[in-house]
Symmetry: C2
Subunit: 421 residues, 2 copies
């Protein structure tokens, strides 16, 4: 490795409340190092690398870098650009190395989920094949909590906390107005895995608390069972609060959605979801015979810095920091993982997983976290998830009563390569 070279940091996929905390960990740790000269941000993830759209984070104001911990979403910019296989997209991978070469970049820190780890892995392998010295380290990120080889993912604790408090609040609202507005349906994210929906169950401390019913994509959704579940809840509590993951599927594995429009698939080929709560609302009205309302938190659940989990913020930061430490220690081709040491007191350290393993893995909610009826969670899940939502992240509140977030100045780096995209 050359004595002192530059690093690139990029963020990818759906933003989270704490992806910037991970970025902060990477940047602050890299700045301390004598081996890393400058840290460049790739504007909008791998797109920024392909387009040579880079900026020097090292020259940003330290207070802005510190404020990353208190700013949701992805301050460097994210994207949903997915590189195909090496056969199909070799030019893309070569371009990435060209840009790295032009800017003397020998460290690549990629914050993302499975797809990002796959990209990092392929770039890394091509570098090896072509004799370009490169260290690629992945930093886990996803609200979906579905990455394998890590106890949980940075981003999950905060969405879990927000969804739980939202279920609690919607529950109080329903409890107050049940005589007319008897049912509330909370639609939450979670395409293939029900981790986020499950987190709503943390709100239910007592039987009369909300939510009454939670449906996860891990179980085939049965209209008949749903109607019976609602009738039971109605009989027992006089009201119904339902939480559903957006990716509910029927017994044929087809996603249940009311939606289909011109942009019904994203660039990864995933069906654009949304609308399950409206489907359930319709069923409740027609088959249960009570009025239902829908709350669809949408992107607000993954950007709620004002009630984020401090544990999540701290662990996201730690993952970023450890990525740099490992890179400098000679680790390569790995993603930092979170390793739970104990539950009471909760202790969590980090480990490492092979990028390609993470890329190919997916962790759904296991059976023992879902109740037998498939409409709620178990105590084992509560034990797993509760430590992750503890503590309230720090937020700076301005004179106007609203949070103060940072935004990078983002002075673009001079381009050294030909145009590409």
């Amino acid at each position: 490795m050359v004595s002192k070279s530059n690093a690139i940091i990029a963020q990818s996929g759906g933003p989270t409340t704490v992806i910037n905390s991970s970025a902060c960990g990477v940047i602050q740790q890299a700045i301390k190092s004598s081996k890393i000269d400058k840290v460049f941000g790739a504007t909008n993830g791998i797109l920024g690398v392909l387009e040579e759209n880079l900026f020097d984070i090292t020259s940003e104001r330290p207070k802005d870098i510190e404020a990353l911990k208190r700013t949701p979403a992805a301050a460097i910019g994210s994207c949903r650009y997915k590189l195909k296989s090496m056969d199909e997209s070799k030019a893309d991978y070569e371009r990435i190395l060209d840009v790295f070469r032009a800017h003397d970049i020998h460290y690549f820190f990629y914050i993302g989920g499975n797809d990002s780890m796959d990209t990092a892995d392929k770039v890394n392998k091509l570098a090896k094949d072509t004799g370009y010295e490169l260290v690629c380290i992945g930093v886990p990120k996803t609200i979906d909590n579905d990455l394998a080889f890590t106890d949980h993912c940075p981003g999950y604790g905060s969405v879990a906390k927000y969804v739980a408090v939202s279920a609690m609040n919607a529950g109080k609202d329903t409890e107050a107005l049940y005589t007319t507005d008897t049912c509330t349906i909370l639609e939450v994210m979670g395409r293939n895995a029900g981790w986020i929906a499950a987190a709503a169950g943390l709100a239910r401390r007592e039987p009369e608390d909300s939510p009454n019913l939670i449906y996860l994509p891990e179980r085939a959704f049965s209209k008949e069972q749903f109607v019976n579940d609602c009738k039971d809840a109605l009989k027992e509590f006089g009201r119904i609060v339902v939480v559903c993951g957006e990716g509910l599927v029927d017994d044929k594995g087809e996603v249940i959605t009311a939606d289909a429009g011109v942009f019904d698939r994203d660039s990864f080929g995933h069906v654009q979801l949304g609308g399950i709560s409206e489907v359930l609302k319709d069923i409740v009205g027609k088959e249960v015979g009570v009025k239902a309302r829908c709350n669809k938190l949408g992107t607000n659940q993954r950007s709620a810095m004002h009630f984020a989990s401090l544990t999540d913020v701290n662990e996201a930061y730690l993952c970023g920091k450890m990525a740099v430490k490992h890179a400098l220690d000679g680790v390569n081709g790995k993603m930092v993982t979170l390793v739970r040491q104990s539950n009471s007191p909760y202790k969590c350290t980090t480990g490492l997983a092979v990028l390609s393993d993470v890329a190919n893995g997916e962790k759904k909610v296991p059976d023992y976290y879902i109740n037998q009826a498939g409409n709620g969670i178990t105590d084992a899940f509560k034990e797993y998830a509760t430590p992750l939502i503890r503590g309230e992240a720090e937020v700076t509140i301005g004179e106007d009563g609203l949070p103060v977030y940072m935004r990078f100045e983002r002075k673009p780096l001079e381009k050294k390569c030909a145009n590409y995209l």
Copy 2:
């Protein structure tokens, strides 16, 4: 007035984050008084009176009464039962007085909006006509902020703060992922008045902040203008964050929803599910040519105790307290109002308005708070609304990282009247 008699407190209509703070003010002030013996809660508003479904709040634990300030929604229970005119519903009004008589109730504190003030006014007049000694005082409550004769309504500051932070967070999310998820549409409450939608504008400190566009029911919605507005925002910022009140109307005054209205069917003749945000999403996809996502905060916006306005909580409490003070001072047939003394520093005291005046009034967002293009707010609105969202309400967080809310024990009072409903 008899030397010592009982009071009833009831809550009505849609819950808010701070309606319980008003109840707390009423209860704690009444407990101090030598003229009021017991305070009874009417379970589910006026329904609880009609059904003689009462409980003794005076015997609830003082710490639960205090915790009302930190609990959203309506702890006594609310309802949407609307009494008709005296001619049509005289039996109802007489029944109310029968229940009051049976339980020696001579003070009636009603927390609600226009309809509640109308009910309180009619009960009061009937009491006068029949020689029953009664003091009726209204306490204002509505997230919609549309009550006349008061500078603003308890409940508004908190929904405003939550909607603003949600616009801010959704904005950061859109900023991060604009290359694919270019437009975010936030649907907020406000059926006839755009106060809540307008509040989202508080999030926009700099031109590049969100939201870009705000549409209020006070202005006829034009699809053509909307498309142009979106294209302009897209050109200038590369992304679009739209906030819309749920009650948007077209130029004929018809409410635009997916269920009924001008945009009710897609090109295949399918009725679209969801509300105004889904309609706008469809327009953005088809006419602007970018992908949009919808966030529909629903009842979560009016129950978000975890980011409520301290100013709102304090003023709601003050209104409740003043209602009792005035009642004991011989005031009758009035609603407590909020009177702004100055803006910097912000000072607000209370006043009084005649119940029947409030019942018949409605306050929409005035022209000078809406920008000329009808797609945003003015600085004058910011000056009006900013003081109302300042300060963060206290929340008790439990061991599990979630708020701790109270719930009354609610031991039912022995019934003394025949069944009614």
